[in-house]
């Protein structure tokens, strides 16, 4: 019950937003939206503190049969693999509400759409049924299309439709696979389908192919990433938080929770190729990111590279790699959201995102610049910050399963470190290039509330990754036992 309530509270919030009287002043609307967004977070935290050791199997479940002849049901529950992302969704939505300072027009509608998207995202990470998973998966699409299309920059409409087309293609292909799987196995329930649902090896491969392809478009895995840059660049900051922090995880989570556990034999032949795609993501993201003159584009490509490590860990299908991949989903969300918000702050102050024009920001805005540095160092995989442990685990696990790919992926860390340091040197340190920047102000308290918690979590989880591993490792272990890996 608490799961269902948490998922659908944002929907009530969306209605509330639309019903607020028009003459309400902006600050009150923002405050109410933040209060609404805090409720799912509070509930998720409650679940974390009370149930974090008991998520080896789906807990807090709810089962209602929907279409009995096909065994489709409203089945939700929280398990260790999904709960981290469930929690992060609630957290980042709140951050996105706080960080919506650059959204000035139609604020109520903006928050309403954001909350509808949150319903979809929370639902995906709690769904225990293939059709329901798909419904929630798709529920995020329309709000995100509108968020980018209505509140983005001048290129927003082209970017929004591109995003829609790519991801809709991916999810529809995935749906065809889901339906074939469900009808062959006679059920759409995750629990009934675990380990293959009784399908033969050949049938599993045939069904897994479209599912994996669809999920890889969502991630996106290079070369299916055509939509990524336009959309990331066009979005308002607060949409970026969700867009980079949560949405790619719908794809990786689909691999980790649906494709691999439910179709182990079907996915097996694809695993080396997924590992290769992971390497391509990591190296491509690193090299192309290095060449970007635009700070936001650099962050976008670094995000692409970090997602590669999730794919690597997933493709390993062993305890270390899998735990790393699940954890990396969370840590990637933290740092990428943080970087996008700070880039937004920089842009608001300086009016530019060109790396060559920025410089010496640490002298003028020490807080924002330091937090940006923490995020960048985390993105590089610096020990002591959150991404290090998860990335390291995916590499260790990956080395066991696919040594060549893992060694190549490790190269990506070096490249990443190089270009992040180079970027920091130009953006934060060095002389102030533009005299107009002498007068800029540091992050306001409001801006700090959006970024400080993320930075704090990066440090906290960097030192104590166990805080999250405790949630997930039972679930990972029991899943690997079912599919005979580990």
């Amino acid at each position: 019950m608490i799961t269902t309530v948490t998922i659908f509270i944002p929907l009530l919030g969306a209605l509330l937003m639309l019903l607020l009287p028009k003459e309400f002043e902006e600050r009150r609307v923002r405050a109410i939206a933040a209060a609404v967004a805090a409720v799912p977070l509070a509930l998720a935290l409650y679940v974390y503190f009370v149930y974090r050791h008991d998520l080896g199997a789906p807990a807090l479940t709810q089962n209602v049969t929907w279409v009995s002849s096909l065994n489709i049901g409203y089945r939700v529950g929280l398990d260790g693999i999904g709960f981290g992302m469930f929690l992060l969704t609630a957290l980042l939505t709140l951050i996105a509400v706080v960080a919506a300072w650059d959204v000035r027009r139609n604020l109520r509608q903006y928050f309403a759409l954001l909350f509808v998207a949150e319903v979809g995202m929370l639902g995906v990470f709690a769904a225990q049924d293939l059709v329901l998973f798909y419904v929630f998966f798709e529920l995020t699409l329309l709000p995100m299309y509108l968020l980018v299309g209505a509140w983005g920059d001048e290129n927003r409409r082209a970017a929004a439709i591109k995003f829609f087309l790519y991801t809709f293609l991916g999810s529809t292909i995935m749906l065809a696979g889901f339906l074939a799987f469900g009808i062959l196995a006679g059920s759409f329930s995750f629990s009934a389908l675990e380990g293959g649902g009784g399908l033969s090896r050949a049938a599993q491969v045939a069904v897994a192919a479209p599912i994996v392809l669809g999920l890889l478009i969502k991630v996106p895995a290079v070369p299916l990433h055509g939509w990524l840059l336009d959309v990331y660049l066009s979005s308002p900051t607060s949409t970026n938080v969700v867009l980079s922090g949560i949405l790619p995880k719908l794809g990786t989570y689909g691999l980790l929770r649906v494709a691999i556990p439910l179709l182990p034999q079907g996915v097996h032949p694809f695993l080396p190729y997924i590992a290769i795609l992971a390497v391509v993501n990591i190296l491509y993201g690193a090299f192309v990111g290095f060449m970007q003159p635009d700070l936001k584009a650099l962050v976008s490509y670094s995000s692409l590279a970090t997602l590669g490590f999730i794919l690597l860990g997933a493709s390993a299908v062993n305890t270390v790699g899998y735990n790393g991949a699940v954890l990396q989903q969370f840590t990637h969300g933290l740092y990428s959201a943080l970087l996008f918000v700070v880039v937004g702050i920089f842009q608001a102050r300086t009016g530019t995102r060109e790396i060559s024009e920025l410089g010496g920001l640490v002298g003028r805005m020490p807080w924002a610049a330091s937090i940006f540095a923490i995020g960048s160092l985390a993105a590089m995989g610096l020990p002591g910050l959150a991404v290090f442990s998860s990335e390291f685990m995916t590499l260790l696990g990956g080395y066991d399963a696919h040594p060549v790919q893992a060694i190549l992926a490790a190269l990506g860390i070096v490249t990443g470190a190089f270009y992040f340091l180079y970027m920091l040197a130009r953006v934060i340190f060095g002389p102030i290039k533009n005299p107009a920047y002498e007068a800029i102000q540091d992050a306001t308290p409001l801006e700090m509330t959006a970024i400080f918690p993320l930075a704090a979590l990066l440090v906290l989880i960097g030192f104590f990754p166990g805080l999250l591993v405790v949630v997930q490792h039972h679930a990972v272990q029991s899943m690997l036992t079912v599919i005979g890996g580990g």
């Binding site: 096909l70 419904v135 798709e138 529920l139 329309l142 299309y145 509108l146 299309g149 293609l169 529809t172």
Partner: protein, 479 residues
Amino acid sequence: MPYSAEALVALLPEIIGAVFLLVVLMVGVFLPGSVRVVGGLAAAGAAAVFAAATWMFASGFHGTFFGGGYVVDGFALYFKLLVAGCAFLTVVACLGWARSAGDATEYLVLILSVMFGATLLVSMRDLFGVFLALELSTIPSYALVAFDRRRRESSEGAMKYIITGAVASSVLLYGIVLLYGTTGSASLPDVAKTFSGPQQPAALLGLLLLISGFAFKVSAAPFHFWTPDAYQGAPATAAAFLSVAPKMATFAVFLRVLTEGAPGEAPVWTAVLAVIAIVTMFTGNLPALRQTNVRRMLAYSSVAHSGYVLTAFAAWQGNARAEAVQAVMIYAAAYAVMNLGAFLVVDIVGEEAKSFNGLVRTRPGLAASMFVFMAALVGIPPLSGFWGKLWVILSGAGSGSVLTYVTVGALVVSTVISVPYYFGIVRGMLLEEPVSSEVVKKGEPAGLRLAVHTLAFLTFVFFVGIAPLSAVARAAGML
């Protein structure tokens, strides 16, 4: 016992439909200018047919009558319900227009005639009966398309529709005659018996001609070219009605003819229809991308949706037969609500794509409804179109035939291709500025607005009804 009382009950919806048809006609003649009364009667007629069909459905009434040529079963009643429901909403929606056009009675009578023909059609189990009922619903459709005498497009569309329709009828009749000549019977079960005997080339040719004739009627490629002109020319409410009710009834009887008349030949016709389905989806969606006239765009979209329905036809093999029938039934309902609604919104806002720009500012309620219809036509959950496609893909996935898998793949690709034109409207409504300061006036008749919002609501809450609907379709679909 062909004339038993039970046979009268079996014909109850049709009798009610015919009585109201005559009453509306008479009242219109004797009380000219009383649009309100005539309209009320027409709406009551459609509602009464709906109620009669519901009652028969609920009481489990079924049987075959008149020498086996007329069948009442769940499948037939389901489609009667659908047709009557669409007719009711169309009547409610069209009153304002019909009043201003001055020929309200004639217009309503034509709509009721189409409804009458379509309700008969879905019960036919005799090839000649099928032909007669089909013509009974088609001929008033010609008049409906031509109804708006003030517009040149109306006559042009009607002309194209009549000529191609006449060709289609002849082809269909020729196919029927060939089947009758080779099998010695027009009754579907008897035709099926003969078919299962030795292969007869003439009978197969007849079957193919029959399929071509039906393909014309449901605007499947390559026989779809009348559709955009007819739907553009027809009065908006007529286009809305014709694109759903008679089309779904034709699909229903088409499925019955194939599954009851030629089950043994399923490998042939599923293959033929799979190819037709694939071609139809693309010939619908690709030209739709280029349209600036929303009605033409929706006409091409309805062609594409015929392709989706035919995918379910192609899935009628292996273990998926029940699912395939279910898919056709669920798709019909899903399509009816969303497509009828979309056409009616066009009636309010205007035909040019530009007139939708900025609609969310000027008419937020209308924009929200149109948004629901467009997203549903794309097939986004949890809206109605999604469930239709879901069942089609489900049946295709269970069919075990490679060609059907290919068709399902084409459906997936084609659906994605369709996104830009549906979302062109959404983008115009939500993201663009209004073209002129002149807002879309709120002057539309209340009935039209009511119908649009009712349909948007039904499209939206389709997921609530999907469980009972699928159970009903499952029970009714055991042909």
